[in-house]
Subunit: 400 residues, 2 copies
């Protein structure tokens, strides 16, 4: 398969490189494929015969040799309909894309399967990432599977279970006094000296391509249709960028017609650069001081290409909303009661959904997909439970 | 689809009932299907067109109406090859069946999808289970999705994160001073008075049928072949019973030929009733005192039908092994280093594998499948980490 890089801002095209992701104009370089060639083998019929993992879309992933693919069973996550919720909201069709069912318990598995495969194809031995948590544990797992050494830098208030998860996979794991961009600075300062390959957001070409498969899959699972609205928790934003790219490619391949979905970014109040930029109608301005939101994947004060995210939201007719910590708690309880292992990020999409229905922005006839990007398991405050201990049925009766 | 119950001991057949699981002879009743009728629609070709979830095998699951199926995206979990491990062991083909990628982070999702669907088909409102943890959270999730009330009884030393997981799904969750059978006694004492439907191991017909799909899937994922050896962590043992049943049904349907796999049960030293029974060559004897093993899914001193499990292991040419806590820790580290989120139960299968290779019981040419039944996430000691916090690259250099 032939592929190169293309600037999303000025359109400039160039050869594929694994360390170049910024154009001289300042725009972000994404992988561009020869879609005519891709279409020779990537057909709706052929897909039916393929493995149910994200590598089923291999023509649209930047790997030359199959033996370099590092796979732990990522992708093709369930799209679950919430019938009971539809009756209470009211909404005719509501799905949750269960990204927590990926191998590392989050959507980050996809990006790192692609990025680590690229690293393997280029004989890289040491990989590193700054992360709010789930990117770190995903890199740790994929590097482990590939036999590479991983160096993970996390903010010190990262949920403890995710810190332990990184160590479980044998990664060198470090806590940083600061936020995700402070952790990123350590990597930039050390990468040459240490011979690290930086797999941070938009620092290499693989992660956004891996995340693109969420969009490809969603369309295929809906029988080659787009939903009306996608609600997505947004931190670094490469999921939005990847999915939007997926939808363009599906149209160019002739797999799908009809309107693109309206893309909605959800952030938490206290760290809402995308929401602010969309509201201000000016160019994107990162602000790294005064951050007050929770340590989740959405806490990214300075996404690498905020302008690109905002332009996608606008182009799609979408929007962005900041929700409160309390609303996230309510969303967690609501999704939990429908049987979903909802992370704070996934719960935030529920909170956003409620706002948008209340505003009339989402209509009852809209088909809506929420992205639950990670397991509730990773964030449960399990050392806080104080349940009484019973001995027999009579004690239970007295208790209740 | 027509189905009834059949005794695995005396062969007696009877009508399908949802509360009868013991024959008058003492044997276990399992669901038996009209396989001729099943074969009209369940074909290898038809399967290719079906959803990748356990309900793809709907002809072999005891539900009449599709609208009663309670599904959260369970089954069709990845079967991941461990190439790097094969080179060090040596073993030519080693897979891990990643059951932790089920909706509730464990293989228990399958059994409860079936059991709660049956409950819905019979208009049941209140469901209850005694559990070492993962069965509890699975019932909580599926009952939540179905809109039923769930009552969960767990030993007081159940991992805290699993206790929180049950509460996350809105279940009434209780800790019991004792082990899983003590928790079971509370249910038996209260079920009539409270109108509870008891979904404990082998107390109803659904769970073992749901688990059966692990066997159906494994054969299909290996392109309708059996592996030589299956290594499975064993507590109540309904996974072994279910998979063995699956293999018989696949042979009767003509889907598969060749030898059955040798089934290996793994337990932890300190609670090893299956291992003891297999070694003693006498009838199975449960022993509920003197239990010293860890609070994992393997800690079931008195499985409901130990004789049936032992007879399956013997019939298959398999075996059973008890491993130590230290060996489980080593297994966790080994599987973790290959990128697998290994629970203690999954790690125990690795420990068993090493023993069986050392003994020469597993040969280098054997094709082996380990079952990782749950996520490492649920058992990580995250409140114990003591990582230093760094501020910049220079501090990192000093530290390392």
């Amino acid at each position: 398969m032939r592929y190169g890089l293309s600037c999303k801002k000025c359109g400039k095209q160039m050869a594929f490189k694994i360390r170049e992701t910024k154009c001289s104009c300042g725009g972000t370089l994404l992988v561009e494929y020869d879609l005519e060639e891709a279409g020779w083998t990537l057909t709706k019929e052929n897909l039916k015969e393929r493995d149910t993992a994200m590598w089923r879309y291999r023509e649209l992933l930047p790997i030359h040799k199959k033996e370099n693919i590092i796979s732990l069973g990522e992708g093709w996550t369930p799209l679950v309909r919430l019938h009971r919720a539809e009756r209470t909201l009211p909404l005719q069709k509501l799905w949750v894309k269960r990204e927590e069912q990926n191998p590392t318990g989050s959507f980050k598995s996809r990006g790192f399967s692609a990025a680590v495969s690229i690293a393997k194809e280029h004989n890289i031995q040491k990989v590193t990432v700054n992360s709010n948590g789930n990117a770190g544990s995903a890199l740790a797992a994929y590097a482990g599977h590939a036999g590479m050494e991983a160096f993970i830098f996390l903010p010190q208030d990262c949920p403890g279970i995710i810190v332990e998860e990184c160590k479980h996979y044998g990664a060198h794991t470090f806590l940083v006094d600061g936020l995700i961009h402070d952790a990123g600075k350590i990597i930039v300062d050390g990468e040459k000296e240490q011979g690290w390959y930086n797999v941070g957001t938009l620092k290499e070409p693989g992660r956004v391509e891996g995340k693109k498969t969420m969009g490809l899959e969603l369309a295929e699972q809906l029988n080659w249709k787009f939903p009306d609205v996608i609600i997505y928790p947004t931190g670094g934003g490469s999921g939005i960028i990847g999915m939007w790219n997926a939808f363009q490619q599906l149209k160019q391949l002739g797999f799908i017609h009809g309107d693109f979905p309206r893309m909605v970014s959800i952030q938490e109040k206290g760290c809402q650069p995308i929401v602010n930029a969309l509201e201000s109608k000016e160019a994107f301005k990162p602000r790294t001081h005064g951050v007050r939101s929770s340590p989740t994947g959405m806490r990214v004060p300075s996404p690498p290409d905020g302008d690109l995210i905002v332009s996608i939201l606008r182009q799609s007719g979408g929007t962005a909303i900041a929700v409160t910590k309390d609303e996230i708690q309510q969303g967690k309880a609501a999704l939990g009661s429908y049987g979903i292992s909802s992370s704070p990020e996934g719960a935030a999409t529920w909170a956003g959904l409620i706002h948008l229905i209340d505003q009339g922005w989402i209509r009852p006839t809209d088909e809506v997909v929420l992205f639950n990007t990670s397991h509730a398991l990773k964030y449960l405050p399990w050392n806080q439970h104080h349940l009484p201990v019973i001995r027999d049925y009579q004690e239970w009766v007295k208790l209740t």
